[in-house]
Structures are given as C-alpha cells and as structure tokens.
C-alpha cells in the first residue's frame, strides 16, 4: 500500500462565493500547502538523520483540493485520511456528504477543524458518523498532528500488520482503547463523550516531545518504537494467530530491539489475563535447545519453548545467537 496520504480539502463553488470568502479560501489553501510541505520535509530530515530508522519508505502528505465534491471523484481515493471541515469561520462540512468511507479501503477518516490562533490539539467524537474523530487544531501545531498521523501509519506497516481493511479499522479502535487502558490518555486533550472517539494518533505525545528544542530524537523514537510494539503485540494476541507462512520479522542491525520484542512477548505470556493459555514459540535457524523441529524450505529450524524454565536461560541464548541471524519467527498456537 502506498504511504502517501491525502488531505482532502473540499471547498464550496468559488464562482458563487463572495470575494471576501474567496480570499479566505485562497489563504486556507496557501497555509495548508505550506504546512504539508513542511511536514513532509521534517519527516524526510528525521529519516535522513536516522531518527526514523525503523521506517522503510518515505511517508508524505499530499493536499488534494476538490471543489464540488462528487461521489465518483472521492471513491477513487482510498488513501484519504483527513478532510478539512472548517477553517476559522469558514465551514466545509456539508461538502463531504457524498464520501462513502466503506469504499476504497479508507480505514479511518479524520475531520479537521483548523483555527489560526489556537495552540492546542483537541480530540472529540464526530457528530458526523462519516468521521472517526473530530480534531480541532491550531495552525501553528498542525505540523505536529500530521507528523504523528504519518508515523502511526508507518509503524503499522513496519510491524507487518495486515493490509486488510477490517484489520486496519480494528487496530485503529484497539489503539484508542489501549491508550485509555494504559493511562496514556492524559497526554491528549479530549472533549465531550470520549467513548465514541475511534481514532487517536499514538505517536502524538512522542512527537510533541520531539518538537521541543534540544531533545535526543533517537531516544524518543526508540521509546516510541518499543511502546508501539507493545501495542502491536497486544493486538496480535487478541486477534491473530501467526502461522509458519507468515513473513519473518527482520532484525537488521538492531538485535537489541529483537530482545525487547522477546521480553515483551514473554511478559504477555506470563500475564494470564491476556494470554489465555496460548503458547508461543520463537524459531531461529540454529540448534539451541531442540524441543520441536520445524522445517521451512527443507531447512531444519529449532524452537525455543516458552514453557521452558527458567526462561532467562533461553533469552540469553537468543541474545547470543540472534546476531548471527537476520530473521526469526514468532509462532502462536
């Protein structure tokens, strides 16, 4: 799936708008173009300096202006994520009535209200069922919001989660529930009945820290990377069973991250309330402790049995061995 996401901006028929309203619309377009350009450039910089090392491809936003929104036009856009509903006093919400979010694989849709003078990002349930959340944002902090949305998307695909639309929607809702379960909701400004919010960008608190001056960007991204992995692991345990044909997880140059991965899984396994008696194995390509044998492409692999005690022994073995191998599998059965 392409990692280009669109801000869909629909505005009323300019021909019939007053010249004052026309000028408002021109200013809106200019401002949002500059901000999306700045967001894309900021992400590229982070990737270049290694902070976003875990991201394989370049995410970016593109602004699509559509006047007199037509059904046949918007159905083509399955990578739309944000619709601009309001800019100061100029209201565009009715222009989106023809979007059918079920079509084209739109997993979540954000209704955005921008204000020139605000300095906050506020989340509330949308009155329009088309949108998963309503976000009121100041122009000066829009870049932070867009950056966090893009990083969430990038992390979703980095962890090889399913491209299937139902999975994406489920993950989006799961993410919101976990933000509350893990008491991370204090990092968000929430208005109104929050039970109906179906989308929150997990990366936002980390991005806000990142935009402060003189921060260790690498440390912040590492923490985000690991915390997001916790989220993914919880999601996978709840909803998915890995199988042998699943694409292997690449360790690349960061074996320490793989160890965190294993430790996190181990914590989940030991949490009876979450684990519900499931069993998991880590398979890597070497003889460490032969308990079961699997063959992939005629190559004999070995599993490390999570039930084996003490687990610290096999984690240590994993640490010693993983540097020689670039991939491993996690199997749940």
């Amino acid at each position: 799936m392409s990692e280009v996401r669109k801000i869909l901006f629909s505005y009323p028929n300019i021909n019939t708008a007053s010249s004052v309203k026309q000028k408002d619309i021109f200013k809106i377009i200019e401002n949002i173009k500059i901000i999306t350009n700045a967001t894309n450039e900021a992400l590229k910089r982070k990737m270049r300096d290694g902070s976003l090392v875990f991201v394989g491809s370049m995410p970016s936003f593109t602004l699509e202006e559509m006047h007199n929104c037509k059904r046949e036009i918007v159905e083509k856009y399955d990578d739309v994520r944000i619709c601009l509903l309001k800019y100061n006093n100029v209201d565009f919400e009715k222009e989106y009535s023809l979007i059918n979010a079920q079509k084209g694989g739109i997993s979540h849709l954000i209704g955005l209200e921008i204000n020139s003078t605000d300095t906050e990002i506020r989340f509330s349930p949308s009155k329009n069922e088309l949108f998963d959340v309503n976000i009121k944002v100041g122009l000066s902090v829009l870049k932070k919001l867009l950056t966090s949305i893009m990083i969430d998307i990038s992390l979703y695909y980095y962890y090889h989660l399913s491209n299937n639309i139902e999975s994406r929607k489920n993950f989006s809702e799961f993410k919101v529930r976990k933000i509350f379960d893990l008491h991370k909701n204090d990092n968000y400004i929430l208005d109104g009945g929050v039970d109906d919010i179906k989308y929150l960008p997990f990366s936002l608190p980390y991005v806000e820290e990142l935009f402060e001056s003189k921060v260790d960007a690498t440390r912040i991204f590492e923490k985000l990377f690991i915390d997001f992995f916790d989220l993914v692991s919880l999601f996978n345990l709840k909803t998915l069973t890995y199988n042998l044909n699943r694409e292997p997880i690449n360790v690349d140059l960061y074996p320490c991250i793989a160890v965190n991965h294993i430790n996190c899984l181990n914590n989940i396994v030991n949490d009876k309330s979450l684990y519900q008696g499931k069993h998991y194995y880590v398979i890597i390509g070497n003889n460490i402790e032969e308990k079961k044998k699997y063959c992939i492409n005629d190559k004999e692999l070995v599993i490390l049995d999570a039930k084996q005690e003490p687990h610290i022994q096999w984690v240590s073995q994993f640490k010693n061995t993983i540097e020689d191998y670039s991939t491993y599998y996690v199997i749940l059965e």
Partner: protein, 351 residues
Amino acid sequence: MSASYIAYLDLLGTRGFCENEDVYYKNIVNFSNSVETLAPFLKDVGKIGMFSDCVYIECSDLGRLLYFLNELRMMLIGDELFFNAAVSYGELGVQSIGYELKENKSKKNKQNIFGVRFTNREIASIYCKQTNFRGVGIWLDPKIEDKVKESKYKIVKSLYYAKNEKTYFPKEYNDIPFLVTDENDEDCLNKWKREVLAIIFKTVYTSHCKSERYSVYYISLLINIIRCCDVYTLKWNRAEKRFEKMSLECELIYNFLLSCNKSLKTLIGLDSLCFAFLDLIYNSENCSDFDKISITEHFIDSFECLKSKYKYSLDATPIEPFTGNNRNHFINYCNSDMAMKFVDDVLDGIE
C-alpha cells in the same frame, strides 16, 4: 475608454521536470489547479487563458490582477513551483478557433483544430518582455507604475540578471512585495516565513547544483524579500562583530548569505544579495553610522564575493542593488574605514 491590462506568465523549470514524467505531470496539474482555483476572482473583470505551463490574462482592474498574480505565487510556493510574469497595458484580442463550446454543448465545426488566436500584437510585446525578464517575480512595466500605486500596492525595486554574449549583468525592475506584511491578516504567509524561505533556499541550492544559469533566476525573488525585511529590531555588537538581534526574516537571509559564502560561492548575484542586505541596514533608522561602518567592514572582509571583486575596486560596485544614495555610503564607509586601518598599521608602534 477604460484601461486594460495584460499579463503573461510562465512556470519555471518545466524543461527540468521532463527528466521525470511523473514529476512533470504532477507539477503541471498543481499549476493548472492553482490557476483554476484563483480564476473566479477575476470573473467580472478579466479572462484567463492557460496552456501547459503558461498563462495569459487580460483584466480591466489592475489591483485585482496583481492580487491574482501574488496569490498564485503564494499558492505555488507550497508545491515548490515558481513563475515569472510580465504585466503591462494592453488587450489580448483572443479568438478561439476550432471547436466552440457553447452552454456546455460542443458545437463541431469543419476544422480539426482547436486553440486560440491573438489578434492584437500587444501579446507579442508582453511575451517578449516576459522572456527577457530572467527572474522569478512579477515584472511591472514602468508605464503602469502610477496605476500600481493607485491600486494600493507598494512597488519594490528588485533586480534580475540579464545576459549578453559574455556575461550576466544586473537589471532593475519593479515588482510587488512577495511576503505581504499585514498585521490585520493573521493568515497571511508572513506567519510562515521560515517555511517559505526554506523552500526558496532549497530551490536555489538544487537549481544551482544543476547549473548556475538556473539559480540566477531566484536572485530577483531574494532581493524582493530582502527589500521588505524588517530591520527595526536589528542590533549589532560592534565589539564582537556579530548581530545580537534581528527579525526572523533578516536572520534567515543573513544565514543564507553565510551558507552561500561557504557552499555556493559561484552563485551569480551573490554580491548583489549582500549589497541589498547592506542597503537594508543603511536604511535603518535604528542603526548608528558607527554600526553601519562596522557591519560594512564585516561584510567586505567575510564575503569572498565582495572582497575579491570590490575591496580594492570600489568603483566597480554595482548601482542596481542599492537604493537612494546608499552605493555612495558603501563606498565611503569602505574608503574611510579601510584607509583608517591602513594608516593605523603604518603608524603602529611609531611615536
């Protein structure tokens, strides 16, 4: 008979886009979308023709025409696109040929050709003016200067680099301010100076890496921006020879000049940019004469493009980057300061 104004503009760098079909297509689409978005603003007063990367306009209201052009360049900045335009008196005398579209019904005629024909030779005049204007900006015909002022636009004296057989040389022209300062307009791009200037700096650099004949086009835009910088808050530390305080746009431009001094030494027009920045400081009422001398000394010693060409050849200092009597001020500051230092060196240690 009421006046009529015409404009012709051309998107910059189209030939370069052709190295990548996707880039070309995206840029042309963004360009035409922006023109189409802004077109209704001239609905009752003008008409706009567009083909590929060029636009021609006829309008009876100069103020609205200038607003259209300025908004277009603001809108295109976000797409990292730039144009050069020329505006003058005239009429296009447009006639459509071939297929006629009437009330959304196409009326086929016998010809298998579609397009427009200009019956007024003023289009040739404006086209030549636009082609000769080798800069990013809006070239205003001197004949319409009074009308520009009547339409409440400030005129900015900028310059671009023309070319003869051997070399590039600066030529003055009139433009309207690029970054509009309007304290009542919270949403103007003035808010995003850092981001806007970053786009311009990036474009200058990337175009210079391709060829100096591309980057020279952006000198006009940079001079336009320098002319409108706010120097009210400027504070110079004479002892340490550095700026202690300055407005954001001044700081960005100054840092850009320093970076060019290191990495883009061959940028044609870098000397003019330095002179224009000095000109800005000379016009500042908050800057004392001693500070102006000290800043001048700092520039002429720090910027290779000034030191090598003008330090010992002050007569060669170009006129175009300066306003009023500032060229003479520059020469006098250099002369008196350098002469004083020279004599100090001679007399050093001698009672």
